[in-house]
Every structure is written in C-alpha cells, then in structure tokens.
C-alpha cells in the first residue's frame, strides 16, 4: 500500500474494461518456442483510498483459454491446474507503486492450485484520461514471472535429446484499461 499523500490518481475504485484488457501467459515449449494461454474472463480492480492503492484480480480457472480442446482438458486436470479442486486463480497486492515517470511496480500474492506465493509485477501506467462518459480511466501494463513448480504444477516430460517439453518459468502479462466507477 502507498500512503494517502502519495495517491497518484483520484480516489475511487477502478474496474477493468473487459474489451480493452487482456491477461496472457506463456511458457517455454521444447525449449525453442512458447505455449501460450489467456484468461478469457477476469475481474481486476484498482482501489485508491486513504490506505493507498490496492490491485486485486481473480478468474475462473476453467475459463483459461488454450488453442486446443484436448489440451485444455489436460491442463484443467490434476496434472496441471486441477480446476475441480481449485476453481479460482486470484491475486491481491501488498504494495502498488505508480511512479511519476510512468513506471508501475506491483507486489502481491498469487493464489493458484491452492498455493499462495509472493509475486512481483512491473511495467508502465498511463492516464488518467476522461472517457466519453466522463469517467476517469487509467492504463496499466504489467508483467512478471513465476515458477510453476512453486504452485504444485510439476508435470514434466523430456524429449529424446533431454530437453524439457515444458519450461518451469511462466511469464504472465496483463494489459488493463481501468475505469473509475
């Protein structure tokens, strides 16, 4: 949390505009390219109040989009996200900094597959601007990395040459247009 005097935006609750917000992730495949996935439905809010800035987000695990139906089923299974037992993926910030130079740093806790671990995201922010309806909007672009093994997603396979089929490090990237209610 930042202090009240350091609030860089007008106090209020800023909610993600789903049309202009995306969250994607990618993980190394065969060590040479990427397996990509995206979150097709999520709610992200940035709250600015007397206690500072708080960024929160959650998504139904089942709604994570992959390019193949069978692959989606395997990734929802106990081998990976285990959507039956852990249906929600969530993030809650512990510290949000929107700096004057346009850089953004967010530290917080990511809960995935029933495991909560600290995560640091960094990027840029812009605004505020006033939209056609008169609401203030800000833009926020963040990225960070997690080790999937930290969250119990430890599926492994090797190629004949010894390379990992799937990497351990997962890069998460989010772009949000957040509108003040």
């Amino acid at each position: 949390m930042t202090t009240a005097t350091a609030l860089p935006i007008t106090a209020g609750t800023y909610a993600s505009d789903p049309i202009h917000s995306v969250v994607n992730f990618k993980v190394r495949h065969f060590g040479i390219t990427w397996l990509r996935g995206g979150f097709s439905s999520f709610d992200v809010t940035l709250t600015a109040d007397e206690s500072g800035l708080t960024l929160e987000g959650s998504t139904p695990v089942q709604d994570i989009a992959f390019p193949n139906e069978q692959l989606h089923g395997h990734l929802m299974s106990p081998d990976f996200f285990d959507a039956q037992l852990y249906p929600t993926l969530s993030f809650t910030s512990t510290d949000v900094t929107l700096a004057d130079d346009g850089t953004a740093t967010v530290r917080g806790e990511l809960t995935m597959r029933g495991v909560t671990k600290p995560v640091e995201l960094s990027g840029t922010w812009g605004g505020p601007v006033e939209d056609m309806g008169g609401a203030q909007r800000i833009g926020l672009e963040l990225a960070g990395e997690v080790d999937r093994h930290d969250f119990g997603i430890a599926w492994e396979a090797k190629l004949a040459g010894g390379q990992d089929v799937l990497g351990r490090t997962v890069r998460i990237e989010g772009e949000f247009e957040l509108a003040r209610a």
Binding site: E69, H74, M76, L85
Partner: protein
C-alpha cells in the same frame, strides 16, 4: 441439512479370469473399505468392445456404455491390475480408452473433460504370481490414468507379489502389514472423494445468487 449419499466405489479387476488374484485383491478391497462405503464390482470388463472411432461416431456401443455408466455412477474406483508383458492387459487399457472419450452424458464441458473418468479418484493396485507384484503394470496404469485426467492414487503402494501364496483361505492377505496397506490406500481414496465433494459444494454455494450477495 440432508445426509450426504454414501460414498460409492467401483471395483475393477484388470484380469478377466474368474479366479484371478487381482479379482481377489479387488474383492478384498471391498471387504476392507471404510464403514459406510458402498463397493460395487464391475464384472463386465470382457464385454467392452474394441475402441474404434468409426463405431464411436454412432455412440458408445453397449459394453462401453455400460462401463461409462458405471463410472458416472461412482465416486471413486479401485483397479487391481495384473501385468502382461510389462504393462496393463489390453482389455483394461481398451476400457480405459473408451473412458477417456465423451459418452455424451455432459453437455456443459467438452473434450477430455466430458469423459466419464475425468477427475475421478482411482486407487491403482496390482498383484502378480512373480516377485515384483506387477509394479510395472501399476505404474503404467497410473500413467494412463493421469493422461486421461483422472486422479490416480498409488500411495501407499499396493503391489502384491507371489500371488499363489499371498492370500489366506478366507480372502485376506497373509500379513497384517499387507492388509493395512490396502486399508490405507482405500482411506486415501475415500479422503479424496470427500475433498472433491466439499470442493463441489463450495463451488455450488459460491455460484448461487444468495451467496454472492
């Protein structure tokens, strides 16, 4: 608050032979299951038709449909497999292959998630007449189950060697330790069933308008 329905476990012997030691192991699991668990033996493995995508195009045939329905009607499965040439028997693998396909019972999901064994806890055990207790087959069974999205449970390891002398005349295993391992494996299976029931109840409560307000 209504009483939850009893936990149902489907017992499957990977061998078709009536006197098979794996059938004895599956029936022993029925005896040692925790109190209140309903254990149902699936005895029609031999009637599951060969998997054929051309046949599947017209729907599951009778034998495969019967297996799928039995899986839909259970909370968990106990499979005891023999080892044929280092792996699980073809007829068991064939039935599991059908169980990895959509039987049309669920319309809300697709792909692997629409299959009858998806997400189902399965205790994997094995027995053989040799010294190794069909451990390769048990491990192959775990691999197959994981790949099709089921929840294989194989700890503690129940791989019964020397099948000809492993059982007493009254159907128990000859040592207390071996019987206790079967009991503990069943406890793990039932614990996972309970955990899944709780997760479903939590998800259902969260999706109701009253809970969301």
């Amino acid at each position: 608050m209504s009483t939850p329905p009893p936990i149902r476990i489907l017992g499957v012997a990977g061998s078709l032979r009536e006197a098979s030691i794996n059938r004895r192991l599956a029936r022993l699991a029925a005896r040692l299951a925790p109190e209140g668990v309903e254990f149902v033996e699936f005895g029609e493995l031999g009637q599951v038709e060969p998997y054929d995508e051309d046949v599947e195009a017209d729907g599951f045939p009778a034998g495969a449909a019967h297996f799928a329905a039995a899986l839909r009607d259970t909370d968990g499965v106990f499979i005891a497999t023999p080892e044929y040439n280092g792996s699980i028997p073809g007829q068991l693998k064939n039935a599991l292959d059908w169980a990895s396909r959509s039987d049309g019972a669920l319309e809300s999901v697709s792909g692997l998630q629409a299959s009858p064994l998806y997400g189902v806890p399965v205790a994997a055990a094995s027995a053989s007449n040799g010294q190794f207790g069909a451990v390769w087959a048990r491990d192959e069974l775990v691999k197959v189950l994981r790949t099709q999205g089921a929840r294989p449970i194989s700890e503690p390891s129940v791989t019964i060697p020397n099948g000809a002398t492993a059982f007493t005349d009254d159907g128990l295993l000859a040592t207390t330790e071996a019987n206790d391992r079967v009991r503990t494996l069943l406890d793990e299976l039932v614990a996972m069933v309970v955990m899944l029931r709780e997760a479903r109840a939590t998800a259902a409560a969260a999706s109701t308008p009253a809970a969301a307000s």
